[in-house]
Amino acid sequence: MHKIISNKNIAKDVFEMKLSGDTSKITAPGQFINIKLDGFYLRRPISVCDYNSDTITIIYKTVGKGTEYMSDLKSGTELDVLCGLGNGFDTSKSGDKPLLIGGGVGVPPMYNLAKKLISENKKPAAVLGFNTADDIFYEKEFMDLGIEVKISTADGSAHNKGFVTDIFPEDYTYFYTCGPIPMLKAVCDKTKTSGQLSFEERMGCGFGACMGCTCKTKYGDKRICKDGPVLLKEEIIW
C-alpha cells in the first residue's frame, strides 16, 4: 500500500499527488503507476512525474469521475498501487543535448526524465505547451533544474503564443515527448532527429494481460501498457 502525503491543486483541474511507499519497481522515467480507487472497477493509470527512494509524485487532470474522486482524497489515505508499469524512456539514445517536449498533462513525465538526463551529464532543454495561462504548472520546478525552458500557450495568455513546435531550439541531438496525439504528430513532422513518444490508451489491466490497448506499429503489434507507453518515432503508424 502507498500513503498519500499530499494532494493539491496546482493548475486548473490539475492536481499533484505525492505518495509514500515502495518505489523499487520503478526503473525508468516515463513509466506509470496504476491506482485502485474505492468504488471504481478499473485502476487509473497515471504517469510518474518524479520519484526517489520512498516517494512518488504524480500529476493528473480531473477528466472524469475517477480522477475527480482522486482529487478529493486526503493526506494519510492508503491506496493500492501497482508501480513501475510500462517501458519508460531510454536515455541511452539521447546524445548530449536532448529536447524534451511536453504538452498539458504530458508535461509530468518530462520532469523526472530531465533529472535523469542531467544526472547523466547531458544538457536537456524543455519545451512545454499549455492551452492557456491557467493551465501552466511546474514552470518553477523545471527552471530550478537549471536547464533551458521555453513555454507556449495556444491562446497567448502567457509566454509565447502558439504551439510547442513554434519554440523549438536551434539544435538538439534527440527528442522525447508526451502529450495529445495532434501534438505528437506535429512534433514528429517538425523534428529532424530520432526520438521517443509516450502514448495514452484506455487500458484494462495496465500490465500486458488483457490486450485492451494494443496498437499497430511498424515493428509489430504492441501493447501500450507493456511494450509502451513509449514508442520510437520510426515505428509509429499515424
Partner: protein, 303 residues
Amino acid sequence: MVDISTNLCGLQLSNPVIPASGTFGFGEEFKNFYDLNILGSISIKGTTKEPRFGNETPRIAECTSGMLNSVGLQNPGVDAVISDKLPKMKEFYNKQVIANISGFSFEEFEYSCEKIDKADNVGIIEVNISCPNVHGGGMSFGTNAESAAEVTKRVKKVTTKPVFIKLTPNVTNISEIAKACEEAGADGLSLINTLLGLRVDLKTKKPVLANKKGGFSGSAVLPVALRCVYEVYEAVKIPIMGMGGVSTADDVIEMMLCGASAVQIGAANLVNPYACKEIIENLPHAMKKYGINSLKEIIGGAH
C-alpha cells in the same frame, strides 16, 4: 486440514482455481507477480487458426462493478502458440494447461484442435463458441443448438483430450445448448462467457468502444453466471467449469454449490494481478467458516 482439490475428466487439480481465457495471456505477465504453480490450471488466451490483431481501440470501457471488452480474440495464431507460447509456459508452469480454441468456420475449429491436441502440456481443450466480439464466428456458433453440436462433433473427432465447450449466456435457453453439446460428445462445459453490453461516452455522445458492443464481465455478472451454472447442472451429467464475476473464495464456493467442478477467475485478474493467489490462500479459511471439509463434496450442493 480441508481438501481443496478437485478434478475435471480425470485431470487432477490441486485446487479449483483457474485463470480464465483472455484475462491471463499465456501467463508471462503474471509469473512476475507470484509462482503460478499454485494454480489449479491456466486457460490460455483464445487461439485461432490465423494470427489476429483484434478490433480497433478503444477496446475497454468501465462499468459499475465490471467492465466491457471488445478485444476481438487478439492472438498469435495456433502455430505460434504451439511452437512458442506453450513451450515457454513449461518454463514457469509445470502442470497441464487448458487450451482455449476459437474459429470462424467448422474447419478452423477442427484445424486448431487437431494441432493443439499434440501439445503435451495441454490437458483439456476448451472450445470457445461464445466470443461476442467477432463477426462471422465466435458467438454465432454458440447461440444455436445445431451449430454448437456440430462444432462439438467435429472437434471430438480430431482430439483424444477432454473437450469442454464454452457457452454464451446471450441465449434464451442455455440448458438446451448445453444438452446439445453433451449429446454431441462434449466431455464438459465452461460457462459463462461475457454478456453482450454497450456504453456511451457522454462527452462524445457515441459508444465508448470502437466496436460499439463488447463483452460485460466483472463481479456484477456473478448472479447471472451462478444461475446459468445452476440450470445447466440440472440439464447435463458432464462436469462444468463455472466462471463469470468470481472474485473471492466465497464466490468460488457459491459457484461450486451451483454445480461447478472447477472455477475460472476472469476480470478479477485484471484489476488485481494477485486475485487467484489470494483466492487460493483464502479458500481453506472460507471452507472452515462454512463447515466444508472437501470442495469435491459440495459440487452441486445447492440443488
